[in-house]
């Protein structure tokens, strides 16, 4: 029941891994076959008046301000009612949204967006470049407490604006009525990449509504309680706590009027959601457990859509306490990852040997695969000279089933190679304290992340500047060569150059194993066969094409 960090989770909790590691690689087209009209309970004719019902977990902060999108449910809501400059589609590529087209300079410092004309807010006001600039400047106002602020400080002049040393952000430039130019201090080809909640692509909010709101109390503003003015495919109707959020179609949506009139985002526990899906009440649920997907694979009314995840399941090893890489390598050799993946996820995932798992051009295939080899593991433990009478604590944020199962297996396999592991499951909050806020742990299990989107994502977890609590480098791993490679890698738009760099990165990570690499687990969706046109993308972008969805007659 823990509230859960969503897209970029560095943690697990009850059911959060599935949700964190979302992803899709141009997966099977689903549900589309016309031969899917198997009679189910007459819930009423499935036409445009049938409301679409989508399941979400109850772990949701009811804050309808795009700057505070801490849960996946929020990011989905914002994707529905607002628009961004660009959107990400199912194959993880950027597509035009509010910007018709965009351009990145060769040195990766200038981003130019051509803004679509004729977009209107649902109250009839036209959307302008000023709305976009307003949105970004509000994110850079410290009182707002925007989750995006950190990332946006890369924009020239943003830090001065944030520190109130300047009245304007020089790097945010309105070139003409339809052109926006963003300039960065340092080159960063991955500037637009990131997980929804803290991405530099913010959902654009209406200046004419928000300009009078005090940033410090933005959550409490009436407009934030009922954000009915947007530019998304749907318009917010109401939020009933612990029940649903409802929406109605926006006939003027700039990418085409939606075919389904009404959408309900139903909030329920996974067990309840599954029953709802099976009874035909719910049309779609995400993060289905592999076991349930297996059981429902022959269902008459539900299609199972299985897509590769973007996150990586890992165990952080405190490098300050266990500096010898041979010990960490021994742990890799000592773990039967394939058998474990089969046992806990029925094989629904891909074994990985570094976190450089995508896009395809960045992947390096010639890595050590650490095949299960207890004897080699034993000798590596010996070589490292590790005092095996010492026990090693392994912590995780409790509640996520695959970790609960994997932990005792790991413990036993480590004991087979002479290492003593103590299991220390923690509540999410206590886990975050012990691993991120005030690091004090030996080993910590975590998952999620958006590694597959861009190889630069890994820099957040392995660069020295990103040591916790200033960044996501929980292991306090430090490697000057790697740090430089990451800086070079984001400084150019040239793919062959980047490919070369990230192959080296992958080799270093694979050799040093600062974290133990397990797998990237699949994201499994259950979709009612009557619902057509769904192409689920990474978690937060399930409905990137929702205007095209429809019900089969």
């Amino acid at each position: 029941m823990t509230r859960s960090p969503e897209t970029n989770g560095l943690t697990f909790n009850r059911r959060s891994l599935m949700k964190s590691s979302a992803g899709v690689a141009a997966a099977a087209a689903i549900g589309g076959s016309a031969a899917s009209s198997i009679a189910l309970r007459s819930v009423g004719a499935q036409d445009s008046s049938t409301p679409l019902q989508i399941g979400r977990e109850t772990e949701f902060a009811p804050i309808f301000v795009p700057y505070h999108a801490s849960t996946g449910t929020q990011t989905q809501i914002f994707d529905l009612i607002y628009s961004r400059l660009l959107k990400v589609q199912d194959d993880l590529t950027f597509q035009p949204d509010l910007a018709e087209s965009w351009e990145v300079s060769e040195d990766a410092t200038t981003y130019t967006f051509k803004i679509r004309t004729g977009v209107t807010w649902t109250d009839g006001e036209p959307l302008t470049v000023d709305d976009i600039i307003f949105t970004y400047k509000l994110a850079l106002t410290p009182e707002t407490g925007a989750l995006q602020a950190g990332k946006l400080k890369q924009i020239t002049g943003a830090s001065d604006f944030y520190d109130k040393k300047a009245d304007d952000v020089t790097g945010l430039e309105r070139v003409d009525d339809n052109t926006l130019k963003i300039t960065l201090d340092k080159p960063n080809v991955a500037f637009l990449t990131g997980t929804a909640g803290s991405s530099s692509l913010i959902w654009v909010i209406p200046q004419h509504i928000y300009q009078d709101v005090d940033p410090a109390n933005i959550d409490q503003a009436p407009v934030s309680q009922s954000p009915t003015v947007g530019t998304g495919a749907y318009q917010f109707v109401e939020y009933v706590p612990d029940q649903y959020v409802s929406f109605k179609a926006n006939p003027n949506y700039h990418l085409g009027a939606p075919k389904i009139e009404q959408v309900f985002l139903r909030l329920a526990e996974p067990a309840t959601q599954l029953a709802q899906l099976e009874s035909g009440e719910l049309h779609m649920m995400s993060r289905m457990a592999a076991k349930e997907a297996d059981r429902l694979s022959t269902s008459d009314i539900i299609d199972i859509v299985n897509t590769p995840g973007i996150g990586v399941f890992q165990t952080a090893v405190n490098n300050e306490r266990f500096p010898d890489k041979r010990l960490r390598q021994a742990m890799m050799y000592g773990s039967d990852r394939k058998a474990l993946l089969q046992a806990v996820l029925l094989g629904q995932g891909e074994i990985v040997n570094s976190t450089i798992i995508g896009p395809d051009w960045a992947v390096f295939d010639d890595l050590n695969t650490y095949e299960f080899d207890p004897d080699k593991a034993k000798s590596l433990v010996e070589e490292s000279g590790f005092d095996t009478s010492q026990s090693i604590g392994l912590t995780w944020s409790k509640g996520y089933q695959p970790v609960e199962l994997a932990a005792p297996v790991f413990q036993q396999q480590m004991s087979d190679i002479g290492l003593k592991i103590d299991l220390v499951p923690l509540e999410t909050a206590a886990y975050v304290d012990a691993v991120v806020n005030d690091p004090d742990f030996d080993m910590a299990w975590f998952g999620g992340g958006s590694y597959r989107i861009d190889p630069d994502v890994s820099s957040g977890y392995y660069m020295t500047v990103n040591w916790t609590p200033n960044g996501g480098n929980t292991t306090h791993y430090s490697n000057e060569e790697l740090d430089q490679l990451f800086i070079d890698g984001r400084g150019t738009t040239d793919i062959p150059t980047r490919t070369d760099i990230y192959h080296q990165v992958a080799k270093i990570l694979n050799e040093d194993v600062p974290t133990l690499f397990w797998w990237s687990d699949n994201q499994i969706f259950g979709i009612n066969k009557k619902l057509q046109g769904v192409k689920p993308g990474p978690n937060q972008y399930i409905w990137w094409n929702i205007q095209e969805w429809s019900f089969a007659e």
């Binding site: 089969q342 932990a407 005792p408 036993q412």
Partner: protein, 301 residues
């Protein structure tokens, strides 16, 4: 206490009585109660299973086997294996240890608290009594599961913490019971006599008053053990019970939350479910039998 009539009305119909006489007739009354006898035998068996778990369990309950995962019952594994190949029978047997100790320890804690506070309250009366009773009122008003959730979230879920939290929140019933008994007893001749002979309050309470409250407390505690086992199962549902990999019946039956397990892998949850039902059922029968046996009036039914 003027409002004693209202507050005191006990949940058990027999409480307003004293229990004189002991020994043989009660034993016979208890034995005659067929369900109670059956319950007693089952409880005894469960206790033996818990005590001799290491001897009885065919496998180490935490030993995983990735080559024998999620198997149905077979000769090698009489109750099958779970997702990582642990033997379900062995886990059910060890689960008896965990679940029964959760029940026993938490009840011991709250009986101790309840007896101490109840006898102080009943013996001394006056402002001490009022204070303790208001405190009891407060604890009784707690929506206990909500507080338990908050408390377990704070100190972290573990078998010991679950025991302590249940124990610390469930004593008011016992406290009132003891207080009611003592209020009635303290004016009786034998207490007067003890006091007249110069016995200290502690001595009067422990030597003369408390022994007379043992019967109703035993009955209440018996029911309490059953309730605590169920509370642990409920906490497991919310993810706050005894933590895996330690097996408890609560966290084992909780695997049925997955519809796939509920429907296709019944060997994972039926044994634990049966054990919970069996334990709670037979403990309650024993409590019922004890009540009948210890209540002089219902005995000659």
């Amino acid at each position: 206490m003027s409002d004693q009539v209202l507050v005191e009305t006990p949940p058990q119909v027999w409480t307003n009585r004293t229990f004189a006489g002991r020994g043989y007739p009660r034993m016979r009354a208890f034995m005659r109660h067929r369900l109670a006898l059956a319950g007693f035998i089952v409880v005894l068996a469960l206790a033996l299973i818990a005590i001799f778990a290491p001897v009885l369990a065919p496998y180490d309950p935490n030993a995983v086997d990735l080559f024998a995962t999620a198997q149905g019952p077979s000769r090698a594994h009489l109750l099958g294996t779970d997702d990582i190949g642990r033997d379900v029978l062995s886990r059910v047997i060890y689960g008896a240890r965990v679940s029964l100790s959760v029940g026993l320890v938490s009840v011991t804690i709250y009986v101790a608290i309840g007896m101490v506070l109840g006898s102080i309250s009943g013996y001394f009366g006056g402002w001490i009594d009022s204070t303790i009773q208001r405190f009891t009122d407060a604890v009784m008003c707690f929506p206990s599961l909500i507080i338990i959730i908050a408390a377990v979230a704070i100190i972290g879920p573990s078998i010991y913490n679950v025991m302590i939290v249940i124990g610390l929140l469930t004593w008011p019933g016992i406290c009132r019971l003891v207080r009611g008994q003592i209020l009635q007893l303290r004016e009786r001749e034998f207490v007067e006599a003890a006091r007249a002979l110069g016995a200290s309050p502690t001595r009067v309470i422990f030597a003369h008053l408390l022994p007379n409250t043992i019967a109703p407390i035993t009955v209440a505690a018996t029911f309490g053990v059953a309730a605590a086992i169920l509370t642990e199962a409920g906490l497991s549902f919310l993810g706050l019970g005894v933590q895996p990999p330690t097996p408890s019946w609560g966290n084992m039956i909780n695997t049925a939350q997955s519809a796939a397990v509920l429907q296709n892998m019944p060997w994972l949850w039926i044994p634990a479910g049966v054990m919970i039902a069996l334990a709670v059922l037979s403990i309650n029968f024993v409590g019922d039998g004890l009540r009948d046996a210890l209540d002089p009036r219902s005995a000659h039914r």
